[in-house]
């Protein structure tokens, strides 16, 4: 039997590009994470070394409840707060704005957070929580909580939460737009049928709307998770991971290890871990979508 090679020639250009710019860097990074600086294979030595650093996991901080708790924990906290908040907020806003005249203007404004370059977003977050010009502090003064006023990103116990809240604002546009599109796809007969069948607005939402939005929710959750795992720019410009690493995250730590400490092997470990985590999320999502 003669192998027909023609189809392979067509995918060759794309394949070459993927190999050079995607597969090679990934495999080089992974192999780097198992080598010593001199290039000897050291097994999981690098992993043990990196994972026991307090920048990655700070057990003392976790147990006693102070920051920094370590970049992995910070990413986890980010996910724990940001994922439900931005997803729910987007959903609630999408539902509320569904039949409102001129809602596209409001949606566009919220979506601005999405189209703003994250570097700019990070700077805006820094100003938002600033002592003198920040809108957060103005608000606190206005509701009589003037004694709380401070530059929130400069204190270890509030830096991370400030960034997370700021990133909720930046990202809510994403779930809002996806949910809005999802809602528009649901035929209005389902609502009408449910109304006549005797369902209340709440029952309609939980028994009709939400289940029909499930594919959207899957997409939103996956994309948000990936974004949270890879978060970098905001932290870089707003706090530089500080103060004292209190708002550091994995991607930024990877950058520091590579370009400040010049420890490329340690940096590769983090890169590999991040790749593995994002891959898990992507595979779960992919499986779900394919099954549908």
């Amino acid at each position: 039997m003669k192998l027909n090679l023609t189809p392979y020639f067509f995918i060759l250009p794309a394949l070459i590009l993927i190999i050079i710019f995607v597969l090679y860097p990934i495999s080089a990074t992974i192999s780097l994470s198992f080598l010593s600086p001199e290039g000897y294979f050291v097994g999981f030595d690098n992993y043990i070394r990196v994972l026991s650093r307090r920048e990655v996991i700070n057990y003392d901080g976790i147990l006693k409840g102070y920051f920094p708790m370590g970049a992995i924990v910070h990413n986890a906290i980010w996910i724990l707060i940001h994922l439900p908040l931005s997803t729910l907020l987007g959903l609630v806003l999408a539902v509320l704005l569904q039949n409102v005249k001129g809602s596209s203007i409001i949606k566009s404004i919220i979506f601005l957070g999405m189209v703003t370059p994250l570097i700019v977003g990070g700077i805006i977050i820094r100003f938002t929580f600033d002592r003198e010009v920040g809108v957060v502090n103005m608000f606190l003064k206005a509701i009589g909580l003037g004694h709380l006023v401070r530059t929130w990103t400069m204190y270890p116990d509030t830096a991370l939460f400030s960034l997370i809240l700021g990133s909720v604002w930046l990202w809510t546009g994403f779930s809002l737009i996806l949910y809005s599109a999802g809602l528009a796809m649901i035929p209005k007969e389902y609502y009408e049928a449910a109304k006549i069948d005797g369902a209340s607005s709440m029952q309609i939402f939980f028994r009709i709307t939400l289940p029909l939005l499930k594919p959207v929710t899957t997409t939103v959750v996956t994309m948000t998770l990936l974004w949270e795992l890879k978060i970098f720019d905001i932290v870089y410009v707003a706090t530089y991971g500080g103060p004292g690493g209190a708002s550091n995250v994995l991607a930024l730590l990877m950058y520091f290890l590579a370009f400040r400490s010049l420890d490329f092997n340690a940096s590769s470990v983090i890169a590999t871990l991040l790749t593995a985590l994002t891959l898990i999320v992507a595979i779960v999502m992919f499986k779900y979508v394919v099954r549908k």
Binding site: P187, E189, Y190, E192, A193, A194, K195, I196, D197, G198, A199, S200, Q203, R207, I208, P211, L212, K214
Partner: protein, 362 residues
């Protein structure tokens, strides 16, 4: 069980008056069909009764209660949508159970009730399937079941059979009618198919351009259409119309249709007196036109245009004065296009309408 009363109902969408001062009653346990061509306001009327639209004017009573300001869920009506609107993410069981679940009925009761309805509609075997795994006819039954399960006061159906193939439609027509009589649920049924309306309805409300044209039993509408629209809409093939003028000749009233003249019996003279010279439209149903191959007294000569055999009977299209008309011939007759035939228009079956306003004179 309840009666429905609609009074002076009006609904506008911007400049369009979808429903224009519509009034009709539906008696308890009655099967009333809203019939009319596309865009005549049938669906809008139904949606107003269901509470999915709010009327601009007029009142709706269900079981004697004014429901204008009562939301759909409290009107205790059930609706079958044209495309069924089955919840795609729920099984057939859950679709049927939904109206009971949202009313917080006990689980045991729901299960029993759903199974009872499923059995009635012969869909017991489909209970754990999704709507997407059902055929059109099965979906239709599930939609019906979802409406039935709650034992509502009133059944509202918007062209529930229009998505089925012809054979299934005819079958379901009879099933639906039997079911309605058996359960005795007041039903308002929307269709643009006059055969469906004629075969199923106790009474028909004919709509045209948002207005009611006539209300009556199928036989009323067939025998005594009140205007040209109803006359032309009811019956298949449609009634033939000839422009004509009323004239007098030796004490007789004669309809002058140009190509032929029709002498009317004395019995009509009391109605048609003083109407000489009036422009009218003469209507005669295809099934009432008699066809002969040889001329007879009072026959009119015309030419065969085309013949449509239906097996057992034939529709004969003939041309007269440059226009095509239809006649129904019971049995079989061999005719070729362009052959000469002679038709007779029996005076006892004719309808006469005023040309100006379309209203029936006879």
């Amino acid at each position: 069980m309840a009666d429905v009363k609609v009074k002076n109902l009006t609904k506008r969408f911007g400049k369009v008056i979808a429903v224009n001062k519509v009034s009709f009653d539906v008696k308890d346990k009655e099967f009333v069909v809203l019939l009319g061509p596309s865009g005549s306001g049938k669906t809008t009327t139904l949606r107003l009764i269901a509470g999915l639209e709010r009327p601009d004017e007029g009142e709706i009573y269900i079981g004697g209660r004014l429901v204008n300001n009562i939301p759909p869920r409290e009107r205790d009506v059930a609706m079958v949508f044209q495309n069924y609107a089955l919840y795609p993410h729920m099984t057939v069981f859950d679709n049927l159970a939904f109206p009971l679940q949202v009313r917080k009925m006990p689980k045991k009761y729901i299960k029993a009730k759903v199974e009872e309805v499923a059995k009635l509609l012969k869909i017991e075997d489909l209970l754990d399937r999704r709507p997407s795994q059902l055929s059109g006819g099965q979906q239709q039954r599930v939609a019906l079941g979802r409406a039935l399960v709650r034992e509502p006061k009133v059944f509202l159906m918007d062209e529930p059979l229009s998505n089925l193939d012809a054979k299934l439609r005819v079958y379901m027509r009879a099933e639906l009618k039997r079911l309605q009589k058996e359960l005795g649920i007041t039903t308002i049924y929307v269709t643009h198919d006059q055969v469906e309306a004629m075969t199923m309805a106790d009474r028909i409300v004919v709509f045209h351009k948002g207005k009611i044209q006539q209300i009556g039993t199928p036989s009323d509408l067939y025998k005594k259409p009140q205007n040209i629209f109803v006359a032309g809409f009811i019956g298949s093939p449609a009634m033939n119309f000839f422009d004509a003028t009323l004239t007098y000749k030796d004490d007789f009233i004669v309809l002058d249709a140009g190509e032929f003249k029709l002498k009317l019996p004395k019995t009509f003279s009391s109605i048609l007196r003083d109407k000489a010279g009036l422009e009218v439209v003469l209507g005669i149903r295809p099934e009432h036109i008699k066809i002969y191959k040889e001329p007879r007294a009072s026959t009119v000569k015309c030419r065969v245009y085309v013949v449509e055999p239906l097996g057992g009977e034939m529709i004969i299209n003939f041309s007269l004065g440059g226009k095509i008309y239809k006649a129904r011939y019971p049995g079989e007759i061999s005719l070729k296009p362009d052959e000469t035939i002679y038709i007779e228009i029996p005076v006892k079956h004719i309808h006469i309408f005023n040309k100006k306003d379309g209203k029936a004179i006879i």
